[in-house]
């Protein structure tokens, strides 16, 4: 796919297109994505027992409404759920053939080059130096393009609020991080399935865990490269598509796909007027030439 895009750009004058590449795409070319010193969370699915303490902690930390079913009600896990405006994180259980079920916690992955942020027409999302992708409701117009853009289907919308609807999603407890604390879910996890730390160090730790128990894990850290890398990283005993993580997204940040297209616009602005104006002048010239002999006759 990438190749076709590049060929396509090349065919239409890619040389000029390079002039206007947005910041994110240029970063992608140099291979330095996100902020190297940023924090993230390593989520080890082989340790998660599906107790939903993280859900409860998130609910309390964000002052969210009480859930329909209590946090200690295990029947919730019988069907797959997604994040909503009143649950920024949910734990799902994925049954496996001939193996114990695997649980996975869903929340914003805090992408290094967030598709949601690149999509927003008012720039309501910010990728912070600390790693969180945070949202500013004072700017949001409610077009919901961020929800279309997010490859993990994370942002939710307050559809039932007629006056001040907001996009809702996990904030990585940005305020807590700034105050030197860990995200509420990480602190609540009794199994230490969630580890908070510098992203680079978490990657290191993830590789060590695979090396120490190679038979326990799939030999891949999800989030190291997916869509340009995410600050939330996963280790799993089973293939990632069996726990609902998309594996067809590629390693290129999604904003590179739209960025390549947007970088064309200056070309259109530069070439179209010249071409169209030229056509018109040519047409007028022809018309005048056609008229002259008649007038003379």
């Amino acid at each position: 796919m990438g190749l076709t895009r590049r060929q396509f750009l090349g065919a239409l004058g890619g040389a000029t297109a390079g002039l206007a590449l947005p910041r994110t795409t240029r970063a992608a070319q140099k291979g330095t994505l996100g902020y190297p010193e940023s924090f993230g969370v390593l989520c080890d699915l082989s340790l998660c027992v599906g107790c939903r303490r993280c859900e409860q902690a998130c609910n309390e930390a964000n002052d969210l409404p009480a859930p329909d079913q209590a946090f200690d009600d295990p029947t919730v896990l019988q069907h797959l759920r997604r994040t909503t405006e009143s649950a920024y994180t949910v734990v799902n259980t994925y049954p496996q053939a001939n193996a114990p079920a695997v649980h996975r916690k869903l929340q914003c992955n805090h992408c290094q080059e967030p598709a949601c942020a690149s999509a927003c027409p008012v720039g309501a999302f910010t990728k912070t130096r600390e790693g969180a992708v945070i949202y500013n409701p004072d700017l949001c117009i409610g077009c919901r393009y961020c929800m279309v853009a997010c490859p993990f289907g994370i942002p939710a919308y307050e559809y039932h609020d007629p006056l001040t609807p907001r996009v809702r999603k996990c904030t990585l407890c940005h305020e807590r991080i700034l105050a030197g604390k860990r995200p509420a879910c990480v602190e609540a996890c009794p199994m230490e399935a969630l580890v908070f730390g510098k992203r680079t160090e978490l990657l290191e730790r993830a590789r060590n865990r695979i090396a120490a128990k190679p038979e326990n894990y799939l030999h891949h850290v999800y989030g190291e490269h997916e869509v340009g890398g995410t600050n939330w990283l996963y280790l799993s005993p089973v293939p990632f598509d069996q726990v609902g993580l998309p594996t067809n997204l590629g390693e290129e940040p999604l904003c590179a796909k739209t960025g390549g297209f947007l970088s064309f616009i200056p070309v259109v602005i530069a070439l179209w007027p010249a071409f169209l104006g030229g056509t018109w002048l040519f047409k007028r010239h022809n018309e005048r030439q056609g008229q002259q002999p008649k007038e003379g006759a």
Binding site: T4, R5, F8, P22, R23, T24, R82, T83, A115, A117, S118, A119, C120, P121, V122, G123, A124, L139, C140, I141, G142, C143, R144, Y145, M147, V148, A149, P151, G153, P155, Y157, E158, Y159, H160, D161, P162, T164, P165, N248, L249, G250, L254, C255, K257, T258, G259, F261, L262, I265, V268, I269, W272, P273, L276, G277, T279, W280, K283, N286, E287
Partner: protein, 404 residues
Amino acid sequence: MSQTAPTTCWIKDKLFFGLGAREYLRSLLTPFNAVAAMILLAGGVAAVVRFGQGLGTATNLSHDNPWGLWIGFDLLCGVALAAGGYVISSTVYLFGLKAYQPIVRPAILTAFLGYAFVVLALLFDLGRPWRLPYPFVVQAGFSSVMFEVAVCVATYCTVLFVEATPPAFEWLGWRKLRAVILHLTIPLTILGVILSTMHQSSLGGLFLIAPGKLHPLWYSPYLPVFFFISSIIAGLSMIVVEGSLSHRALHHRADPGTDFDALTIGLARAGAIVMFSYFALKILGVISDGNWTYLPTAYGSWFLVEVLGFVLVPCLLFASAARNRRPRQVKLAALLSVLGVVLNRLNVSLVAFNWQLPCEQRYFPSWMELAVTLSIILLIVLVFRSAALRMPILRPDPTYPEHP
């Protein structure tokens, strides 16, 4: 009666076709208007619910399906079907095909109404519609395709408004202003083509960010090119469809000197060429991305219905109609290709979008969404009709020279 005040007289002449108020109101009691009133009533109810209770009550939108009919049809199809404006004005003013002059005005008016009502639909769809100007006045998201669409649609709407004023000025008798606008024709046309190129393609570009959600047969790095070329098809075909409808419905207002059927033959020739290249590109896109393996699936069949039934078939119909000079066949082909563009936009935004989600999480519009969409289509028709009945749209006003 001879003492009527000048304003009453003006209203009677200009708005009521010289009828008295009562006679005029009675002339409005037609079956068409009765159906129209019912649709508008339903749309009004939907509007009250939408703005009173929020999007959640009025629509079937969800966290998984953030865009529904109002984006898929009202925005995407609305903008594509309004492409006749830039297509025909560039043909006539820039490329010099003067024969098409008589259809410029209806095409520009349709385009302007189309865009104006796209903006109205957006006000329904945005969570906080009163913040519509935020991208321009508060903070601009330069990396966003949506931002680009917003800039172009806003600017082009203004351009179309200006381009659509001359008939209104003739109707009002404002000669000076009309002359000023006519002097601007060429720059406005060029601006119109640039803006249209940009936002027609950007509407396809919106979906470039979602490769994981849009079915591979519809997702392509060429999406912007597909949307742009098919907008030309939509523009050409809409001119034929809307032209034949208005010439039939409003034939007493049409210009007896214009042979609309003859013009459609030329449009058919252009349509056949553009559609064939669109068809070839669509096929090429599928092959170059190696997605032909999806063809023997249900989505594959649906893709073939779109590309064969609503692109290749009308393309061939256009070609043979142009060759054998059969205006009726042109109209059929135009209708099919208009439907084809609508089908394509709905496929990209709704049918093939979220294709991996289980059935019960897929989107289908609510009656209120349908009512708003139908009301908007109807309003376009009604405003077009009342303008064409009063202003020199379908035929020139003989008291005005063609050039200022």
